[in-house]
């Protein structure tokens, strides 16, 4: 058994034939239930209906034997009369058993209801409570309504079939040696279980268990119900309001329109100063969601759903004193997923969660006119621009812009791409699988005829859909793509391994070897643990197969994992929410996305204590590195593709301007000495700091260094660069506002809008206009 594995074990598990007695019992119970349900359907809008529910409960009670009868006798049953006169929709549902807690209840729930002044409790309870509470034969005897729970239990002979069973404690043995004993034991166990459940208030099951004995009484009970219906009770007394969880005892729930109206009035009169809301009210409101209705209650605030999309949490980079920490180190980041996600969220009508806003990804979404490098060997020529900060008086913004060397499309080596596509059922949304397919079609258009494309799917029907096929046979690839359907029947757990196998089998030395993973957040690619997945991707990266992640859809998006995987796989993580975005990522930036010109690009800025007192890096929180990591070539960092632009913005407080962090009282001299010494060093008087960039060329293992001072006054820039400094500043301001505006002072969306509009420029693809539109929407949402 144990060596079969769970699949075979469960499959071959021999099930014992059901006990015919239990089978009959269940059938009878169900048929009785069926008859009752039919009756309930047919006799609508007739007071009798309430009573018939009542009848049912009473009938059930008779089938219990003495113990349960006591319980029923003890139960305060107020509800019957309550429903009389009510449209017959009411349903009474009871979980009895107050025997144990009866005393307690009579001191808690009952007084509360009994105190209601408008309730003619005497008449109502006198007519209704006893009748449900005792054997039907006794319906005409009355009891004191004030303490129905204290009423002495009425003895009731147990029904014959229970009586015939052995006493509960007599057969506590299950040897299995003798069939009779086993049967007795089993019956006893069932009996015992039933009793236990009775005590726990779960007698509903058992109450219905012996449905046959109900039948006998239904007639007399029908008469009784009629009588109850005629009882002279005009206003309905409310039923005892007992939360079901209350000590596990029981509850009586009455529903229906009339009940709601009553309850609404009562709840409101009792509930002050806290308002109450009933289902009936909710139905009347024009609200589209129950949460909105709940918000009508004073003091109730429902937080807007921020989505279940998962983002890595980070704290916004703080202000650093140069005297304390003069060096700032971070990794380049060319991902743009954050911007697309934020855009999708805002276009949907809600502001994104803070962690979804990564300022650097929003800034880097746009292409800036930083001058490109001239050789492949030195792929960056940093552009450094110092200007005034729009959101901090007296402060400066330092723009560091790099643009990767642009490789002509014909110079790009042949690519071996394997698309790893999620085709799980959850991809069955217009902005998921169909968009993935359209995106991949776009990608095909930007590939060269000699490039090959393979397709592996996972999560639905697993496996290789298409062996790597040259792009010149485009039709075959398109056909394979278009045949993809979300969902499927077989599990595909080995998706990622298969994709790598395929890529390795068709490995192109010196070419582009890349897996393109498209998913809506389901990373069920065959390796369960995130860590294992990351290290798997990392090992494969060392072998030369890279991974990029394209995210689709919302609701379940696991951004943090997408980011981590793309980082480990030397790839980009992009989020594609529209065809336009697909066009941008897979057509305009196809070369950049596919062809890496520099790996492990790290930036480090050392600020000059003589000229700068404080600095703050905008964004790059998730990309920050330790100072010592900069020269350590073993530390992985971001990669830059051909023509990618990377922009970093520092806000600095020049020395002499009042900063936001107080000067230390005791170490003022130390800071002053440091500043003095710095001023005496090379460039100490006319530099804000010193920029260093480390990178590795593709295929190389040791890093190279580019360095450049950050002068107090940067030379004149071209109009395009000046414009793009403005625009990136606007984006940075927007990102900071979205994530809380901790350091942006009095900056408003309106300011951002103005700045962005003035720096829109030519805007060939309309991305900047879209940004402006986005700011407008955010402005409305933020109001």
């Amino acid at each position: 058994m144990k060596d079969q594995g769970i699949e075979n074990y469960l499959e071959n598990l021999a099930t014992p034939a059901p006990d015919p007695e239990a089978r009959e019992r269940a059938k009878r119970a169900a048929l009785a239930e069926f008859a009752r349900a039919q009756a309930a359907d047919n006799i609508l809008a007739f007071p009798r209906q309430e009573s018939s529910d009542e009848t049912r409960l009473s009938r059930e009670s008779t089938s219990y034997g003495s113990a349960s009868m006591k319980r029923f006798a003890n139960r305060g049953w107020y509800a019957a009369a309550a429903g009389i006169g009510v449209l017959g929709l009411g349903l009474i549902w009871a979980l009895p058993n107050f025997r144990k807690y009866g005393q307690e209840l009579s001191h808690t729930e009952l007084p509360a209801t009994a105190q209601l002044p408008e309730r003619p409790a005497d008449a109502a309870a006198g007519a209704s409570a006893p009748e449900g509470a005792r054997a039907p034969e006794d319906h005409d005897s009355s009891s004191s309504p004030a303490e129905p729970l204290a009423e002495p239990p009425l003895p009731e002979p147990p029904p014959p079939e229970l009586e015939s069973q052995p006493p509960a404690n007599a057969t506590r043995h299950f040897a299995g040696d003798d069939q009779g004993a086993v049967d007795a034991g089993r019956r006893d166990a069932a009996n015992e279980a039933a009793r236990r459940r009775d005590e726990s208030g779960q007698s509903e099951v058992d109450a219905r268990a012996l449905a046959d004995s109900r039948q006998r009484e239904s007639k007399s009970l029908g008469a009784l119900a009629d009588q109850a219906a005629r009882a002279p009770v005009a206003p309905a007394p409310p039923p005892p309001q007992q939360p079901a969880a209350n000590k596990g005892t029981g509850s009586i729930t009455v529903t229906g329109m009339r009940r709601e109206l009553e309850k609404s009035k009562r709840d409101k009169s009792e509930a002050a100063p806290v308002d109450a809301i009933t289902a009936e009210d909710v139905g009347q409101f024009p609200d589209s969601h129950i949460a909105e209705s709940l918000q009508r209650i004073p003091g109730v605030q429902i937080a807007k759903d921020e989505g279940r999309d998962r983002f890595e949490h980070f704290e916004i980079n703080p202000v650093h004193r140069v005297a304390d920490a003069p060096v700032s180190t971070f990794s380049a980041d060319v991902d743009t997923a954050s911007y697309s996600f934020v855009r999708a969220r805002i276009n949907e009508g809600s502001l994104p969660q803070n962690d979804a806003v990564r300022a650097e990804e929003m800034i880097n979404y746009f292409d800036y006119a930083w001058p490109a490098a001239s050789s492949r060997e030195t792929p960056f020529e940093p552009t450094v621009v110092v200007g005034d900060s729009p959101w901090g008086k007296g402060r400066k913004l330092v723009h560091i812009g790099i643009k990767g060397y642009e490789v002509d499309r014909n110079e790009v080596p042949d690519a071996n791409l394997v698309l790893l596509l999620d085709v799980s059922g959850s991809m069955n949304e217009p902005n998921k699988l169909p968009l993935v397919i359209r995106s991949m079609e776009l990608l095909l258009g930007s590939l060269k005829p000699a490039d090959t494309v393979g397709i592996v799917v996972y999560a639905g029907a697993a496996g290789t859909v298409l062996e790597p096929t040259p792009v010149r046979e485009k039709d075959r690839i398109l056909e394979a793509l278009r045949s993809l359907r979300p969902g499927g029947s077989t599990a595909g757990a080995e998706g990622i391994e298969r994709a790598y196998q395929l890529a390795e089998a068709h490995f192109r030395k010196g070419g582009v070897n890349r897996i393109l993973l498209c998913t809506d957040g389901d990373f069920n690619v065959g390796i369960d643990s995130t860590q294992a997945l990351k290290s798997f991707v990392e090992r494969k990266r060392e072998k030369g197969v890279y991974l990029s992640v394209l995210g689709f859809g919302q609701g379940n998006y696991r951004d943090e994992l997408a980011q981590a995987l793309a980082q480990n796989g030397n790839g980009v993580a992009a989020y594609i929410d529209t065809d336009k975005e697909a066009q941008k990522v897979l057509v305009q930036e196809a070369t950049a996305s596919l062809f890496t010109i520099a790996k492990d690009v790290k930036l480090q800025v050392e600020f000059n204590p003589a000229t700068v007192s404080e600095y703050r890096l905008v964004g790059y929180e998730t990309r920050s590195l330790e100072r010592e990591d900069f020269n350590n070539d073993a530390v992985d960092a971001g990669d830059v593709g051909a023509g990618h632009t990377v922009t970093a913005i520092y806000e600095i407080t020049p020395a002499g301007v009042t900063g936001s962090v107080d000067e230390p009282r005791y170490e003022q001299n130390r800071d002053k000495d440091a500043a003095k010494r710095a001023a005496g060093s090379r460039g100490g008087r006319d530099e804000y700091g010193f920029l260093k960039i480390r990178y590795k060329l593709p295929g190389e293992r040791t890093s190279r260094l580019i360095s450049e001072p950050i002068p107090l006054r940067t030379g004149t820039q071209t109009a395009n660069v000046r414009r793009d400094v403005e625009f990136s500043t606007a984006v940075a301001g927007f990102a900071q506002l979205l994530s809380g505006g901790k350091y942006t002072g009095s900056l408003t969306y309106g300011d951002v809008l103005e700045q962005a509009q003035s720096a829109r420029g030519e805007d060939r693809f309309g991305y900047r206009s879209e940004f402006i539109d986005l700011v407008r929407r955010a402005q409305k949402l933020g109001e």
């Binding site: 060596d3 594995g5 169900a30 048929l31 089993r186 069932a190 757990a493």
Partner: protein, 176 residues
């Protein structure tokens, strides 16, 4: 189809058809209930609950899903209700309660109980997933539909279950 006609007649209030429907499906219900709880008498209870719920909610069946899928969902919901009601009482299950009948059956029942226990510990929905996929031989899509989760979630659960249980229980198991 015959069954569907039967269901339609039962929905229109024909008690004989409903009885026939019960006869047809009681074994399925009971088998699933038994595998779910590993205990014959409890399975009787759950099955009875399920039959009664069927009586009440058959009218709500809209022929959109397969009837068995709908039925499994109903049985699972009953079983979970039943479980909750048991837990509310929080009694300690006596070991004598475990074996149902005969030595072999007893051993099987104990192993099943252990297995179910492990599945429950793996997380919510794991037990139901294992029972539907392995016990009832349903596809991941069908199981997902019944449990109201995506197919890939089922795949993931199956994978997790296989990993956790077969590693500890059956190292020699080949992947299915």
């Amino acid at each position: 189809m015959d069954d569907l006609a039967l269901i339609r007649r039962a929905q229109s209030g024909d008690a004989t058809s409903f009885a026939a429907l019960l006869d047809l499906y009681y074994d399925t219900i009971h088998r699933f209930a038994w595998k779910w709880c590993g205990h014959a008498a409890n399975a009787d209870d759950i099955a009875q609950l399920a039959c009664m719920k069927l009586a009440n909610s058959l009218a709500q069946y809209r022929f959109q899903a397969a009837f068995t899928s709908w039925l499994y969902r109903l049985v699972i919901s009953c079983a979970q209700d039943w479980q909750r009601s048991q837990q509310r009482h929080a009694h300690v299950e006596l070991p004598e309660d475990v074996p149902a009948a005969g030595q072999g059956a007893a051993e099987q029942s104990i192993y099943l109980l252990q297995l179910l226990d492990q599945l429950v510990k793996l997380g919510e929905g794991m037990k139901e997933t294992a029972l539907l996929v392995h016990g009832e031989g349903l596809s991941h899509a069908e199981a997902g539909e019944i449990l109201g989760v995506s197919e890939s979630t089922i795949s993931w659960r199956v994978h997790t279950i296989r990993k956790h249980l077969n590693e500890s229980e059956a190292p020699a198991e080949k992947r299915g």
